[in-house]
């Protein structure tokens, strides 16, 4: 499988015109986005009274997920960091309003006005430090803090995510809890490596009956109806990196040195990865072995 897009380039670079174009031309991507958004909307558990709600789509991209919201009669505002993706949303005549913005800088929205938020395959991007000024913990904090403030009390936020590791899921979840959210992770088809999907279900406000985390689908071994197409699914966010040649490993006689290793380790820690503690043995010289 192609490597994860989050590891290839910052989102505003990765989602360029070519990548964005796939969102209009691939029926597979369209289908997956629609199914993930349907499920996210279901998990939002909005009152069943037929009244349109004001929803937020974070990382709205080409507007495919927004289309699901519109089809269900809701009014939405979408935020995305990639102009190319938003251009596709314009082309597709997305019904929601679009904002060019970075969720890691926090959402500039008035308190308590939003009835619910969804996000499809976007939040894990926050765990990356794409610029030297990026600190994933601070960006997650800014994001969840501002999201908490703009949601109406009792409103939910549902994020479908592809965390890279358990540590990363923990990092995202703990940032959400620290911002005041209650909730947890819902896993659909946990027993299938192909169809397995994770949703973070968060509720704004103190814990109550409504904050109990719903059950995932296929929890009891029920199998997904579309197991066969499953293999392709993860590629929504991990599309081929053929066009982006990997950086050639620089070969340098002296190696990278202790300082470089310490810096890398720190970076990995900030991403939420488990990294062994630094010691006097870190990056020590090893004898050449043949």
């Amino acid at each position: 499988m192609a490597s994860r897009p989050e590891l290839q380039a910052p989102p505003e670079i990765f989602y360029d015109d070519t990548e964005a174009r796939k969102y209009t031309s691939s029926s597979r991507i369209i289908d997956i986005q629609a199914r993930l958004s349907e499920r996210a909307l279901e998990l939002l558990a909005l009152p069943d009274d037929g009244i349109p709600r004001l929803l937020l789509d974070i990382g709205c991209g080409s507007g495919l997920s927004g289309e699901t919201l519109s089809e269900n009669g809701h009014v939405w505002v979408g935020l995305d960091i990639s102009q190319s993706m938003l251009n596709i949303a314009l082309e597709r005549e997305a019904e929601g309003d679009l904002l060019l913005g970075d969720m890691g800088q926090g959402l500039g929205l008035r308190p308590g006005v939003i009835d619910g938020a969804i996000s499809i395959s976007a939040v894990q991007w926050l765990c990356n430090a794409d610029k030297s000024s990026h600190e994933p913990r601070l960006r997650l904090k800014a994001f969840f803090g501002s999201l908490y403030r703009c949601l109406a009390r009792g409103a939910r936020a549902v994020f479908q995510v592809y965390p890279e590791s358990i540590a990363q899921r923990e990092l995202i979840l703990s940032s959400a809890m620290r911002a005041g959210f209650a909730g947890g992770v819902v896993v659909d088809y946990p027993h299938s490596s192909k169809s397995r999907k994770e949703y973070l279900v968060l509720t704004c406000g103190p814990p109550s009956i409504s904050t109990a985390v719903p059950k995932g689908k296929g929890d009891d071994g029920e199998s997904s109806s579309d197991e066969s197409s499953g293999d392709d699914e993860n590629r929504t966010v991990s599309i081929s990196d053929r066009h982006r040649p990997r950086k050639k490993q620089k070969l340098n006689k002296r190696g990278k040195g202790r300082e470089w290793v310490l810096k890398k380790k720190e970076q990995m820690r900030r991403k939420g990865n488990v990294v062994p503690p630094d010691s006097k043995f870190t990056a020590r010289k090893r004898k050449a072995r043949f």
Binding site: D97, L99, L100, D102, G108, K131, A142
Partner: protein, 122 residues
């Protein structure tokens, strides 16, 4: 961008305490008719900052909204119609949003406000 979104949006620059409402500089305005949903309007009425909506509508050239309101007006079809038109049918297509505190301009192109902050604004 509709005035619904404008009414929810505030300036996010670090240290800004009064980032709402953003001042509208309109260069191009569009009208796109959509179906009126009275239930949605009734729900939104309590969330909307009315004065900001009146001023925003004026800056897009629409001045039919009453300056002051009370919930009883939601019974009037005529009022609902105007509210609906201002909130959901007027679009700021080209122009800028200006932070009322710092004067920082957020450009609006093809209806999309660019709310990306510079590094020193985060």
């Amino acid at each position: 961008m509709r005035l619904l979104t404008h009414n929810m949006l505030s300036c996010n620059i670090k240290g800004v305490t009064n980032g709402f409402p953003l001042i509208i500089e309109a260069e191009k305005v569009l009208e796109k008719p959509v179906d009126l949903n009275p239930d949605f309007l009734r729900n939104m009425f309590h969330k909307v900052e009315w004065k900001a909506l009146v001023d925003a509508a004026k800056s897009l050239g629409y001045s039919e909204l009453p300056e002051s309101v009370d919930p009883a007006m939601l019974e009037s079809p005529e009022f609902l119609h105007r509210f609906h038109h201002a909130l959901l049918e007027l679009h700021l297509e080209e122009g800028a949003l200006v932070c009322p505190e710092t004067g920082r301009k957020f450009p609006v192109n093809k209806g999309i406000p660019n709310m990306l902050l510079h590094e020193d604004e985060v």
